[in-house]
Amino acid sequence: MAPSNEAKSKLYSQTLLAGLWRENPVFRLLLGMCPTLAVTAAVKPAFTMGCCVIFVLLCSNIIVSLMRNLLKPHLRILMFTLTIATFVTIADLFLKAFLPQMSETLGPYVPLIIVNCIIICRAEACASKNPVFVSIIDAIGMGVGFTLTLCVLAAVRELLATGKIFEIHLMPEAFVPWAAMSMPVGAFITLGLLLGLVNLVTGKRA
């Protein structure tokens, strides 16, 4: 019994929204913390990293979903890792070729997308069990959720650290920039407080 079109579109929209809020990779699933802390000193690198993750997630989910019936159980993690590593290498090459400054700012955190728990978890939990279209939607949902989270965090940090986002001054003249925000201290504390805020909001709802 194939699911009706209505049920299908409900499934798709739910999957898409899950990645954005209910199962937000950073705030709810607590995955992918390392790049979240490392690249969110400013909004531009955060956005670039988010886009790279979307690209890798999409490609890896598609390939894994296409292969899902051929995977041998004890070799599947190896297959996932190989797929992800390949696409991260390609993304890194593209970054070095077309956005060299971003590539330098992001530095070693681009190859660290390989061990970003989000991508392997989605491959394991979703792509290896669902048809291609659902996997694509899941990838987009998770990826966009991750990118938005990174940008929010980066916006807070950049605003407080330099008083401006994307070179636009948003803070009043008298504001003395909090240099600590662009250092590891600021990263940890901002993420911790934001996480607490999300817990507060979702706790109240439940």
Binding site: M67, L75, M79, T83, F94, K96, A97, P100
Partner: protein, 207 residues
């Protein structure tokens, strides 16, 4: 044979996928690597053109120049002759690196044609404290080096920054970073000048 058959049955996907992915990476690399190399060259040229405005071409020096950085590490340095449109040498440029306050500081340094005066430097990468050591990137610190004598740089804590002389006024609150830059520049210039003169590359060099 049976175990080989079993092995293949289990891992044929892995082997095929590895081959396919390898091909993908190779194609991407072949397509993009000329651009990547060009980006690196552009970046270096762009920074040096800011320091030596007349420079139009950059020709690498053929012979091998090896210098020892402040922390004792020996490394090969690529020294470039900066040539104007007419082919006349307007200066030299090279990368210099050394330990700063927090991490390694990498600079690109430009000197005039005779290695006598510094044309200036730019920071390629550094991890100094924002608001303090980070100010080595700012104009008011960097401009002190422009026109300063190449062989007599000295760091002082008070002085007149706008005076172009051998004294470099340190950034207040960032003495270590300022000192590091002065040392990196002096150290590199001294050694490179010596080796360039030894190898006779400076045809109109001052002996």
């Amino acid at each position: 044979m049976k175990s080989l058959k079993y092995f293949i049955a289990q891992s044929w996907l892995l082997i095929v996928a590895s081959f396919f992915f390898g091909l993908l990476i190779a194609v991407a690399n072949a397509g993009l690597s000329p651009r990547i190399i060009q980006n690196k060259i552009n970046k270096r040229n762009q920074l040096v053109t800011g320091l030596l405005p007349d420079a139009k071409n950059f020709v690498p020096v053929d012979s091998e120049i090896v210098i020892q950085s402040i922390d004792g590490k020996e490394s090969r340095v690529e020294v470039f002759q900066a040539l104007a449109e007419s082919g006349e040498r307007v200066g030299w440029s090279f990368n210099a690196a050394g330990p700063g306050f927090a991490d390694k500081i990498e600079l690109v340094v430009a000197v005039d044609a005779n290695f006598e005066k510094i044309a200036g430097f730019d920071v390629l990468s550094s991890n100094e404290t924002p608001g303090f050591g980070d100010q080595i990137k700012y104009d008011y610190f960097r401009s002190q080096f422009e026109g300063a004598p190449a062989d007599a740089l000295k760091l002082v804590s008070v002085g007149e920054p706008t005076d172009i002389d051998a004294q470099i006024v340190a950034i207040s609150g960032a003495t270590v970073s300022s000192e590091a830059v002065v040392e990196i520049v002096s150290n590199a210039i001294t050694q490179i000048k010596e080796q360039i003169q030894e190898k006779g590359i400076m045809t109109d060099g001052s002996e």
